[in-house]
Amino acid sequence: MALLSLKNLWVEYGEKVVLERISLDIAEGSFVSIIGPSGAGKSSLLRVVLGQEKPTRGTITLDGAPLPAECGPDRGVVFQRYSVFPHLTVLGNTLLGLEFSASPFTARLFGGARRAAVAEAEAMLESVGLADSRHLYPAQMSGGMQQRLAIAQALIKRPRILLLDEPFGALDPGIRKDMHALITRLWREHGLTIIMVTHDIKEAFSLGTRVLTLDKRRHDPHAPQRYGAAVIYDLELTRKAQQVHADAGADEQAEAIGITIDTVGNN
Protein backbone atom coordinates (compact mmCIF):
# COMPACT_ATOMS: atom_id res chain seq x y z
CA MET A 1 0.00 0.00 0.00
CA ALA A 2 1.17 3.52 -0.71
CA LEU A 3 2.51 5.49 2.18
CA LEU A 4 1.03 8.73 0.96
CA SER A 5 -1.89 8.93 -1.36
CA LEU A 6 -3.34 12.09 -2.93
CA LYS A 7 -6.74 11.87 -4.52
CA ASN A 8 -8.10 14.45 -6.93
CA LEU A 9 -6.43 17.34 -5.14
CA TRP A 10 -7.17 20.94 -6.06
CA VAL A 11 -5.43 24.01 -4.70
CA GLU A 12 -6.91 27.41 -5.40
CA TYR A 13 -6.11 30.91 -4.13
CA GLY A 14 -9.29 32.87 -4.54
CA GLU A 15 -10.09 32.84 -8.25
CA LYS A 16 -6.77 31.38 -9.21
CA VAL A 17 -6.51 27.64 -9.77
CA VAL A 18 -2.98 26.57 -8.93
CA LEU A 19 -3.18 22.79 -8.90
CA GLU A 20 -5.92 20.72 -10.43
CA ARG A 21 -6.79 17.06 -10.26
CA ILE A 22 -3.59 15.83 -8.67
CA SER A 23 -3.77 12.12 -7.90
CA LEU A 24 -0.64 10.41 -6.73
CA ASP A 25 0.48 7.38 -4.75
CA ILE A 26 3.85 7.65 -3.12
CA ALA A 27 5.44 4.45 -1.90
CA GLU A 28 7.33 4.19 1.34
CA GLY A 29 11.05 4.65 0.88
CA SER A 30 10.81 6.40 -2.45
CA PHE A 31 12.69 9.55 -3.36
CA VAL A 32 10.39 11.70 -5.46
CA SER A 33 11.84 14.61 -7.38
CA ILE A 34 9.44 17.29 -8.54
CA ILE A 35 10.34 19.60 -11.35
CA GLY A 36 8.32 22.19 -13.17
CA PRO A 37 8.35 25.78 -14.23
CA SER A 38 8.44 28.64 -11.78
CA GLY A 39 5.02 29.35 -10.33
CA ALA A 40 3.61 25.99 -11.33
CA GLY A 41 2.61 25.09 -7.79
CA LYS A 42 5.42 22.88 -6.59
CA SER A 43 5.75 24.66 -3.28
CA SER A 44 1.99 24.72 -2.92
CA LEU A 45 1.91 20.95 -3.31
CA LEU A 46 4.55 20.53 -0.61
CA ARG A 47 2.64 22.87 1.71
CA VAL A 48 -0.46 20.77 1.30
CA VAL A 49 1.35 17.53 1.98
CA LEU A 50 3.01 19.16 4.97
CA GLY A 51 -0.37 20.08 6.41
CA GLN A 52 0.41 23.79 6.38
CA GLU A 53 -2.42 24.49 3.98
CA LYS A 54 -5.68 22.76 3.27
CA PRO A 55 -6.41 21.72 -0.31
CA THR A 56 -9.52 23.32 -1.77
CA ARG A 57 -10.76 19.88 -2.80
CA GLY A 58 -9.49 16.33 -2.60
CA THR A 59 -8.05 14.12 0.11
CA ILE A 60 -4.67 12.99 1.29
CA THR A 61 -4.19 9.77 3.16
CA LEU A 62 -1.12 8.69 5.09
CA ASP A 63 -0.84 4.94 5.67
CA GLY A 64 -4.43 4.72 4.52
CA ALA A 65 -5.75 7.11 7.17
CA PRO A 66 -6.66 10.72 6.38
CA LEU A 67 -3.63 12.94 6.87
CA PRO A 68 -3.83 14.74 10.20
CA ALA A 69 -4.50 18.39 9.46
CA GLU A 70 -1.64 19.60 11.60
CA CYS A 71 1.93 18.70 10.95
CA GLY A 72 4.11 16.79 13.34
CA PRO A 73 7.52 15.21 13.64
CA ASP A 74 6.61 12.51 11.10
CA ARG A 75 7.11 15.11 8.39
CA GLY A 76 10.25 17.22 8.09
CA VAL A 77 10.66 20.24 5.87
CA VAL A 78 13.21 22.56 4.33
CA PHE A 79 11.36 25.58 3.00
CA GLN A 80 12.26 27.29 -0.23
CA ARG A 81 13.28 30.45 1.57
CA TYR A 82 15.46 28.70 4.10
CA SER A 83 13.72 29.83 7.25
CA VAL A 84 15.71 29.10 10.36
CA PHE A 85 14.97 30.56 13.78
CA PRO A 86 16.58 33.99 13.98
CA HIS A 87 16.91 33.90 17.75
CA LEU A 88 18.96 30.73 17.92
CA THR A 89 22.56 30.15 17.00
CA VAL A 90 23.54 27.55 14.47
CA LEU A 91 23.97 25.00 17.23
CA GLY A 92 20.73 26.05 18.93
CA ASN A 93 18.81 25.70 15.68
CA THR A 94 20.21 22.24 15.13
CA LEU A 95 19.64 21.07 18.70
CA LEU A 96 16.05 22.26 18.75
CA GLY A 97 14.56 19.15 17.21
CA LEU A 98 16.36 16.91 19.66
CA GLU A 99 15.27 19.03 22.59
CA PHE A 100 11.61 19.07 21.60
CA SER A 101 11.31 15.34 21.36
CA ALA A 102 13.42 14.51 24.38
CA SER A 103 11.60 16.68 26.83
CA PRO A 104 8.05 17.67 26.00
CA PHE A 105 7.73 19.78 29.10
CA THR A 106 10.87 21.92 29.34
CA ALA A 107 11.81 21.51 25.67
CA ARG A 108 15.41 21.66 26.83
CA LEU A 109 18.09 19.15 27.63
CA PHE A 110 20.48 19.10 30.55
CA GLY A 111 23.59 17.29 31.67
CA GLY A 112 24.59 14.14 29.89
CA ALA A 113 21.58 14.07 27.61
CA ARG A 114 22.45 17.53 26.46
CA ARG A 115 26.08 16.63 25.88
CA ALA A 116 25.03 13.69 23.77
CA ALA A 117 22.64 15.86 21.77
CA VAL A 118 25.30 18.52 21.27
CA ALA A 119 27.68 15.88 19.99
CA GLU A 120 25.05 14.63 17.58
CA ALA A 121 24.26 18.16 16.42
CA GLU A 122 27.91 18.95 15.93
CA ALA A 123 28.40 15.85 13.88
CA MET A 124 25.52 16.93 11.69
CA LEU A 125 26.94 20.45 11.41
CA GLU A 126 30.28 18.95 10.49
CA SER A 127 28.70 17.08 7.63
CA VAL A 128 27.01 20.22 6.28
CA GLY A 129 30.23 22.19 6.73
CA LEU A 130 29.06 24.50 9.48
CA ALA A 131 31.11 23.16 12.37
CA ASP A 132 33.17 26.33 12.53
CA SER A 133 30.10 28.54 12.57
CA ARG A 134 28.25 26.89 15.41
CA HIS A 135 27.96 30.08 17.45
CA LEU A 136 26.77 32.40 14.70
CA TYR A 137 23.22 33.68 14.47
CA PRO A 138 21.38 33.35 11.14
CA ALA A 139 21.70 37.08 10.45
CA GLN A 140 25.48 36.67 10.50
CA MET A 141 25.53 33.97 7.88
CA SER A 142 25.58 33.88 4.11
CA GLY A 143 22.60 32.60 2.16
CA GLY A 144 24.19 29.24 1.48
CA MET A 145 25.10 28.79 5.11
CA GLN A 146 21.51 29.43 6.19
CA GLN A 147 20.36 26.90 3.65
CA ARG A 148 22.73 24.30 4.97
CA LEU A 149 21.59 25.05 8.48
CA ALA A 150 17.99 24.49 7.47
CA ILE A 151 19.01 21.15 5.97
CA ALA A 152 20.90 20.11 9.09
CA GLN A 153 17.95 21.13 11.25
CA ALA A 154 15.54 18.97 9.30
CA LEU A 155 17.85 16.00 8.80
CA ILE A 156 18.78 15.57 12.43
CA LYS A 157 15.19 14.51 13.15
CA ARG A 158 15.22 11.79 10.46
CA PRO A 159 11.52 12.23 9.76
CA ARG A 160 9.60 9.51 7.95
CA ILE A 161 8.65 11.92 5.20
CA LEU A 162 11.04 14.66 4.29
CA LEU A 163 9.84 17.56 2.16
CA LEU A 164 12.58 19.58 0.51
CA ASP A 165 11.85 22.73 -1.49
CA GLU A 166 14.89 23.57 -3.63
CA PRO A 167 17.19 22.63 -0.77
CA PHE A 168 20.46 23.04 -2.63
CA GLY A 169 19.64 26.12 -4.70
CA ALA A 170 22.09 28.47 -3.02
CA LEU A 171 25.01 26.06 -2.82
CA ASP A 172 28.13 25.85 -4.92
CA PRO A 173 28.78 22.64 -6.86
CA GLY A 174 31.31 21.28 -4.39
CA ILE A 175 29.13 21.58 -1.32
CA ARG A 176 26.13 20.52 -3.32
CA LYS A 177 27.84 17.24 -4.14
CA ASP A 178 28.54 16.69 -0.46
CA MET A 179 24.92 17.38 0.36
CA HIS A 180 23.79 14.92 -2.26
CA ALA A 181 25.94 12.27 -0.68
CA LEU A 182 24.67 13.15 2.80
CA ILE A 183 21.01 13.03 1.89
CA THR A 184 21.40 9.83 -0.05
CA ARG A 185 23.16 8.19 2.87
CA LEU A 186 20.49 9.23 5.37
CA TRP A 187 17.72 8.24 2.99
CA ARG A 188 19.18 4.81 2.58
CA GLU A 189 20.17 4.25 6.21
CA HIS A 190 16.86 5.35 7.70
CA GLY A 191 14.47 4.34 4.95
CA LEU A 192 13.12 7.88 4.63
CA THR A 193 10.56 8.91 2.10
CA ILE A 194 11.69 12.09 0.41
CA ILE A 195 9.84 14.56 -1.79
CA MET A 196 12.18 17.12 -3.26
CA VAL A 197 11.43 20.12 -5.47
CA THR A 198 14.38 21.15 -7.62
CA HIS A 199 15.18 23.14 -10.70
CA ASP A 200 18.23 21.10 -11.48
CA ILE A 201 17.05 18.33 -13.79
CA LYS A 202 20.32 16.47 -13.39
CA GLU A 203 19.84 16.50 -9.64
CA ALA A 204 16.24 15.36 -10.02
CA PHE A 205 17.26 12.35 -12.02
CA SER A 206 20.43 11.46 -10.16
CA LEU A 207 18.86 11.55 -6.69
CA GLY A 208 15.28 10.53 -7.30
CA THR A 209 13.70 7.15 -7.77
CA ARG A 210 10.80 8.90 -9.42
CA VAL A 211 10.52 12.21 -11.18
CA LEU A 212 7.29 14.20 -11.41
CA THR A 213 6.80 17.14 -13.68
CA LEU A 214 4.17 19.69 -12.74
CA ASP A 215 2.87 21.95 -15.44
CA LYS A 216 -0.29 23.31 -16.96
CA ARG A 217 -2.03 21.03 -19.36
CA ARG A 218 -4.25 23.74 -20.72
CA HIS A 219 -3.83 27.45 -20.93
CA ASP A 220 -6.48 30.08 -21.47
CA PRO A 221 -4.67 33.20 -22.69
CA HIS A 222 -7.54 35.46 -21.66
CA ALA A 223 -7.92 34.02 -18.17
CA PRO A 224 -4.56 32.64 -17.19
CA GLN A 225 -5.79 31.91 -13.70
CA ARG A 226 -8.43 29.54 -14.97
CA TYR A 227 -6.47 26.34 -15.27
CA GLY A 228 -4.04 24.90 -12.77
CA ALA A 229 -1.02 22.72 -13.14
CA ALA A 230 -1.18 18.95 -13.03
CA VAL A 231 1.32 16.11 -13.15
CA ILE A 232 2.24 15.90 -16.80
CA TYR A 233 5.09 13.41 -16.53
CA ASP A 234 5.49 10.76 -13.88
CA LEU A 235 8.66 8.73 -14.42
CA GLU A 236 9.48 5.75 -12.28
CA LEU A 237 13.24 5.37 -12.54
CA THR A 238 14.37 1.80 -12.72
CA ARG A 239 17.80 2.50 -11.31
CA LYS A 240 18.33 1.13 -7.85
CA ALA A 241 19.21 3.29 -4.92
CA GLN A 242 22.74 1.91 -5.00
CA GLN A 243 23.31 3.35 -8.39
CA VAL A 244 22.42 6.83 -7.40
CA HIS A 245 25.86 8.18 -7.84
CA ALA A 246 26.06 7.15 -11.40
CA ASP A 247 24.63 10.50 -12.30
CA ALA A 248 26.42 11.00 -15.54
CA GLY A 249 23.91 10.88 -18.29
CA ALA A 250 20.94 11.96 -16.19
CA ASP A 251 20.65 15.00 -18.34
CA GLU A 252 20.65 12.98 -21.51
CA GLN A 253 18.14 10.64 -19.92
CA ALA A 254 15.78 13.53 -19.35
CA GLU A 255 16.20 14.77 -22.84
CA ALA A 256 15.79 11.30 -24.21
CA ILE A 257 12.37 10.90 -22.65
CA GLY A 258 11.41 14.25 -24.02
CA ILE A 259 11.03 16.46 -21.00
CA THR A 260 10.90 20.03 -22.07
CA ILE A 261 9.42 22.38 -19.65
CA ASP A 262 6.85 24.81 -20.84
CA THR A 263 7.61 28.21 -19.42
CA VAL A 264 4.68 30.22 -20.59
CA GLY A 265 1.85 31.28 -18.39
CA ASN A 266 2.58 29.36 -15.27
CA ASN A 267 2.24 32.23 -12.91
Binding site: Q52, E70, P73, F79, H87, L96, G97
Partner: protein, 271 residues
Protein backbone atom coordinates in the same frame (compact mmCIF):
# COMPACT_ATOMS: atom_id res chain seq x y z
CA UNK B 1 26.10 61.78 2.38
CA UNK B 2 22.45 61.13 1.79
CA UNK B 3 20.12 61.79 4.67
CA UNK B 4 18.58 58.34 4.64
CA UNK B 5 21.92 56.57 4.93
CA UNK B 6 23.90 59.12 6.95
CA UNK B 7 24.84 57.62 10.30
CA UNK B 8 26.05 60.30 12.71
CA UNK B 9 28.88 59.07 14.94
CA UNK B 10 28.38 58.56 18.62
CA UNK B 11 29.79 61.86 19.84
CA UNK B 12 27.94 63.82 17.23
CA UNK B 13 24.72 61.96 17.98
CA UNK B 14 24.91 62.95 21.64
CA UNK B 15 25.59 66.53 20.66
CA UNK B 16 22.69 66.59 18.22
CA UNK B 17 20.36 64.97 20.74
CA UNK B 18 21.23 67.52 23.40
CA UNK B 19 20.60 70.43 21.07
CA UNK B 20 16.80 70.63 21.18
CA UNK B 21 16.80 70.09 24.92
CA UNK B 22 19.22 72.97 25.37
CA UNK B 23 17.16 75.17 23.09
CA UNK B 24 14.08 74.32 25.09
CA UNK B 25 15.77 75.15 28.39
CA UNK B 26 16.97 78.43 26.97
CA UNK B 27 13.52 79.33 25.67
CA UNK B 28 12.13 78.63 29.13
CA UNK B 29 14.62 80.91 30.82
CA UNK B 30 13.85 83.74 28.42
CA UNK B 31 10.11 83.35 28.98
CA UNK B 32 10.54 83.17 32.75
CA UNK B 33 12.74 86.25 32.81
CA UNK B 34 10.15 88.13 30.78
CA UNK B 35 7.35 87.23 33.18
CA UNK B 36 9.46 88.16 36.18
CA UNK B 37 10.25 91.55 34.78
CA UNK B 38 6.47 92.15 34.81
CA UNK B 39 5.78 90.64 38.22
CA UNK B 40 8.65 89.78 40.51
CA UNK B 41 6.48 87.42 42.50
CA UNK B 42 5.37 85.46 39.42
CA UNK B 43 4.69 81.86 40.31
CA UNK B 44 3.95 80.41 36.93
CA UNK B 45 7.41 80.32 35.41
CA UNK B 46 9.90 80.42 38.29
CA UNK B 47 13.52 81.33 37.59
CA UNK B 48 16.17 78.63 37.95
CA UNK B 49 17.42 80.21 41.18
CA UNK B 50 14.01 79.92 42.81
CA UNK B 51 13.69 76.31 41.70
CA UNK B 52 17.13 75.50 43.06
CA UNK B 53 16.26 77.09 46.38
CA UNK B 54 12.93 75.30 46.64
CA UNK B 55 14.45 71.99 45.72
CA UNK B 56 17.44 72.41 48.03
CA UNK B 57 15.06 72.50 50.96
CA UNK B 58 13.38 69.29 49.85
CA UNK B 59 16.59 67.49 48.99
CA UNK B 60 18.91 68.47 51.82
CA UNK B 61 16.71 69.42 54.75
CA UNK B 62 14.80 66.89 56.77
CA UNK B 63 11.12 67.68 57.10
CA UNK B 64 10.53 68.77 60.72
CA UNK B 65 7.25 66.85 60.95
CA UNK B 66 8.29 63.48 59.63
CA UNK B 67 12.08 63.75 59.88
CA UNK B 68 12.31 62.60 56.27
CA UNK B 69 14.15 64.09 53.35
CA UNK B 70 11.02 64.66 51.35
CA UNK B 71 12.50 64.54 47.88
CA UNK B 72 14.16 61.21 48.50
CA UNK B 73 11.18 59.78 50.33
CA UNK B 74 8.96 60.79 47.41
CA UNK B 75 11.34 59.29 44.88
CA UNK B 76 11.65 56.04 46.78
CA UNK B 77 7.90 55.68 47.24
CA UNK B 78 7.12 56.42 43.62
CA UNK B 79 9.82 54.18 42.24
CA UNK B 80 8.68 51.33 44.44
CA UNK B 81 5.11 51.66 43.21
CA UNK B 82 6.22 52.05 39.63
CA UNK B 83 8.58 49.09 39.85
CA UNK B 84 5.92 46.87 41.37
CA UNK B 85 3.30 47.99 38.88
CA UNK B 86 5.52 47.57 35.85
CA UNK B 87 6.88 44.30 37.19
CA UNK B 88 3.42 42.83 37.57
CA UNK B 89 2.35 44.24 34.22
CA UNK B 90 5.40 42.74 32.52
CA UNK B 91 4.92 39.37 34.14
CA UNK B 92 1.27 39.23 33.21
CA UNK B 93 2.03 40.40 29.69
CA UNK B 94 4.50 37.60 29.33
CA UNK B 95 1.95 35.11 30.52
CA UNK B 96 -1.23 36.37 28.91
CA UNK B 97 0.43 37.85 25.84
CA UNK B 98 2.18 34.59 25.13
CA UNK B 99 -0.94 32.51 25.49
CA UNK B 100 -3.17 34.94 23.62
CA UNK B 101 -0.60 35.49 20.90
CA UNK B 102 0.28 31.90 20.22
CA UNK B 103 -2.99 30.04 20.69
CA UNK B 104 -5.69 31.19 18.26
CA UNK B 105 -8.59 29.73 20.27
CA UNK B 106 -7.43 31.61 23.36
CA UNK B 107 -6.99 34.69 21.23
CA UNK B 108 -10.56 34.40 20.05
CA UNK B 109 -11.75 34.03 23.63
CA UNK B 110 -9.66 36.62 25.46
CA UNK B 111 -8.89 39.07 22.65
CA UNK B 112 -12.14 41.04 22.90
CA UNK B 113 -11.88 41.12 26.68
CA UNK B 114 -8.34 42.46 26.57
CA UNK B 115 -9.39 45.06 24.00
CA UNK B 116 -12.33 46.12 26.12
CA UNK B 117 -10.16 46.44 29.22
CA UNK B 118 -7.50 48.28 27.25
CA UNK B 119 -9.93 50.93 26.07
CA UNK B 120 -11.81 51.47 29.35
CA UNK B 121 -10.24 54.46 31.05
CA UNK B 122 -9.44 53.12 34.52
CA UNK B 123 -9.72 56.54 36.12
CA UNK B 124 -13.38 56.53 35.29
CA UNK B 125 -13.83 53.42 37.41
CA UNK B 126 -11.91 54.62 40.44
CA UNK B 127 -14.80 54.14 42.90
CA UNK B 128 -14.92 50.45 42.04
CA UNK B 129 -11.16 50.16 42.23
CA UNK B 130 -11.28 51.68 45.70
CA UNK B 131 -13.77 49.07 46.81
CA UNK B 132 -11.74 46.22 45.37
CA UNK B 133 -8.24 47.38 46.23
CA UNK B 134 -8.78 49.84 49.06
CA UNK B 135 -6.80 53.07 49.10
CA UNK B 136 -3.39 51.80 50.10
CA UNK B 137 -0.39 50.83 48.03
CA UNK B 138 -2.32 48.02 46.37
CA UNK B 139 -4.67 50.44 44.69
CA UNK B 140 -1.83 52.53 43.29
CA UNK B 141 0.04 49.53 41.97
CA UNK B 142 -3.22 48.11 40.61
CA UNK B 143 -3.99 51.32 38.74
CA UNK B 144 -0.61 51.13 37.00
CA UNK B 145 -1.10 47.47 36.15
CA UNK B 146 -4.63 47.99 34.84
CA UNK B 147 -3.44 51.05 32.98
CA UNK B 148 -0.51 49.56 31.09
CA UNK B 149 -0.87 45.77 31.06
CA UNK B 150 -3.71 45.55 28.51
CA UNK B 151 -1.76 47.73 26.12
CA UNK B 152 1.38 45.66 26.56
CA UNK B 153 -0.55 42.43 26.20
CA UNK B 154 -2.14 43.58 22.97
CA UNK B 155 1.18 44.71 21.58
CA UNK B 156 3.11 41.57 22.48
CA UNK B 157 0.29 39.22 21.54
CA UNK B 158 -0.01 40.98 18.19
CA UNK B 159 3.69 40.57 17.60
CA UNK B 160 3.60 36.88 18.43
CA UNK B 161 0.55 36.31 16.26
CA UNK B 162 2.40 37.96 13.37
CA UNK B 163 5.42 35.65 13.57
CA UNK B 164 5.82 33.85 10.25
CA UNK B 165 3.59 30.80 10.16
CA UNK B 166 6.52 28.86 8.75
CA UNK B 167 8.20 29.07 12.13
CA UNK B 168 5.32 27.38 13.88
CA UNK B 169 5.07 24.73 11.19
CA UNK B 170 8.81 24.19 11.34
CA UNK B 171 8.74 23.78 15.11
CA UNK B 172 5.87 21.30 14.89
CA UNK B 173 7.80 19.23 12.34
CA UNK B 174 10.71 19.29 14.76
CA UNK B 175 8.52 17.54 17.31
CA UNK B 176 7.25 20.49 19.32
CA UNK B 177 3.85 20.43 20.96
CA UNK B 178 1.92 23.68 21.42
CA UNK B 179 3.70 24.30 24.67
CA UNK B 180 7.08 23.78 23.03
CA UNK B 181 6.23 26.28 20.31
CA UNK B 182 5.28 28.83 22.94
CA UNK B 183 8.34 28.19 25.06
CA UNK B 184 11.06 27.95 22.46
CA UNK B 185 9.74 29.87 19.47
CA UNK B 186 7.22 32.49 20.60
CA UNK B 187 8.62 33.42 24.00
CA UNK B 188 12.21 34.20 23.05
CA UNK B 189 11.14 36.17 20.02
CA UNK B 190 8.59 38.04 22.11
CA UNK B 191 11.21 39.16 24.62
CA UNK B 192 12.68 42.07 22.64
CA UNK B 193 9.19 43.23 21.79
CA UNK B 194 8.20 42.95 25.43
CA UNK B 195 11.04 45.27 26.35
CA UNK B 196 10.00 47.57 23.55
CA UNK B 197 6.43 47.57 24.87
CA UNK B 198 7.72 48.22 28.37
CA UNK B 199 9.68 51.19 27.08
CA UNK B 200 6.64 52.57 25.32
CA UNK B 201 4.63 52.03 28.51
CA UNK B 202 6.92 54.07 30.71
CA UNK B 203 5.10 57.27 29.84
CA UNK B 204 1.60 55.92 30.53
CA UNK B 205 2.85 54.16 33.68
CA UNK B 206 4.04 57.45 35.11
CA UNK B 207 0.72 59.01 34.17
CA UNK B 208 -1.17 56.37 36.11
CA UNK B 209 1.23 56.51 39.03
CA UNK B 210 0.82 60.24 39.30
CA UNK B 211 -2.93 60.00 38.93
CA UNK B 212 -2.99 57.39 41.68
CA UNK B 213 -0.84 59.52 43.92
CA UNK B 214 -3.01 62.51 43.19
CA UNK B 215 -6.06 60.64 44.40
CA UNK B 216 -4.91 59.49 47.80
CA UNK B 217 -1.38 59.41 49.09
CA UNK B 218 0.91 60.87 51.71
CA UNK B 219 4.21 60.50 49.92
CA UNK B 220 5.39 60.22 46.34
CA UNK B 221 6.43 62.42 43.47
CA UNK B 222 2.86 62.70 42.19
CA UNK B 223 1.57 63.43 45.68
CA UNK B 224 3.98 66.30 46.07
CA UNK B 225 3.15 67.71 42.66
CA UNK B 226 -0.57 67.68 43.31
CA UNK B 227 -0.17 68.96 46.83
CA UNK B 228 1.88 71.98 45.91
CA UNK B 229 -0.35 72.58 42.90
CA UNK B 230 -2.75 73.95 45.50
CA UNK B 231 -0.60 77.00 45.78
CA UNK B 232 0.79 76.91 42.27
CA UNK B 233 4.31 76.19 43.47
CA UNK B 234 5.74 75.71 40.03
CA UNK B 235 9.20 76.06 41.58
CA UNK B 236 8.64 72.58 42.99
CA UNK B 237 6.47 71.14 40.23
CA UNK B 238 8.87 71.85 37.38
CA UNK B 239 11.97 70.31 38.99
CA UNK B 240 9.85 67.32 40.01
CA UNK B 241 8.61 66.87 36.47
CA UNK B 242 12.17 67.21 35.16
CA UNK B 243 13.28 64.62 37.71
CA UNK B 244 10.55 62.24 36.57
CA UNK B 245 11.66 62.76 33.00
CA UNK B 246 15.26 62.02 33.94
CA UNK B 247 14.28 58.87 35.83
CA UNK B 248 12.15 57.73 32.90
CA UNK B 249 14.82 58.47 30.32
CA UNK B 250 17.38 56.54 32.35
CA UNK B 251 15.01 53.57 32.61
CA UNK B 252 14.37 53.81 28.89
CA UNK B 253 18.09 53.85 28.18
CA UNK B 254 18.79 50.92 30.46
CA UNK B 255 16.00 48.88 28.88
CA UNK B 256 17.15 49.66 25.37
CA UNK B 257 20.75 48.80 26.20
CA UNK B 258 19.67 45.67 28.02
CA UNK B 259 17.67 44.51 25.05
CA UNK B 260 20.64 45.01 22.74
CA UNK B 261 22.81 43.11 25.14
CA UNK B 262 20.52 40.20 25.77
CA UNK B 263 18.83 39.92 22.40
CA UNK B 264 21.54 40.99 20.01
CA UNK B 265 20.06 38.78 17.31
CA UNK B 266 17.01 41.03 17.19
CA UNK B 267 18.98 44.21 16.71
CA UNK B 268 21.87 43.30 14.43
CA UNK B 269 21.36 44.49 10.89
CA UNK B 270 20.49 41.40 8.92
CA UNK B 271 21.39 41.23 5.25
Amino acid sequence: MRWVTAQPGRGRAILLGALPLVVLAFAYIVAAAARHSDNVADKILPLPGAMAAAMAALIFEADPLSGQYLFWADTLASLTRLGLGLGIATASTLLVGLVVGSLPPVRATLGPLVTAIAVIPPIALLPILFIVFGLGETAKVALIVIGVAPFMIRDVAGHIAALPREQVIKALTLGANSWGVMLRVALPQAMPRLIEALRLSLGPAWVFLISAEAIAADVGLGYRIFLVRRYLAMDVILPYVAWIAILAVVMDFVLSRGSRRLFGWAHGAAH
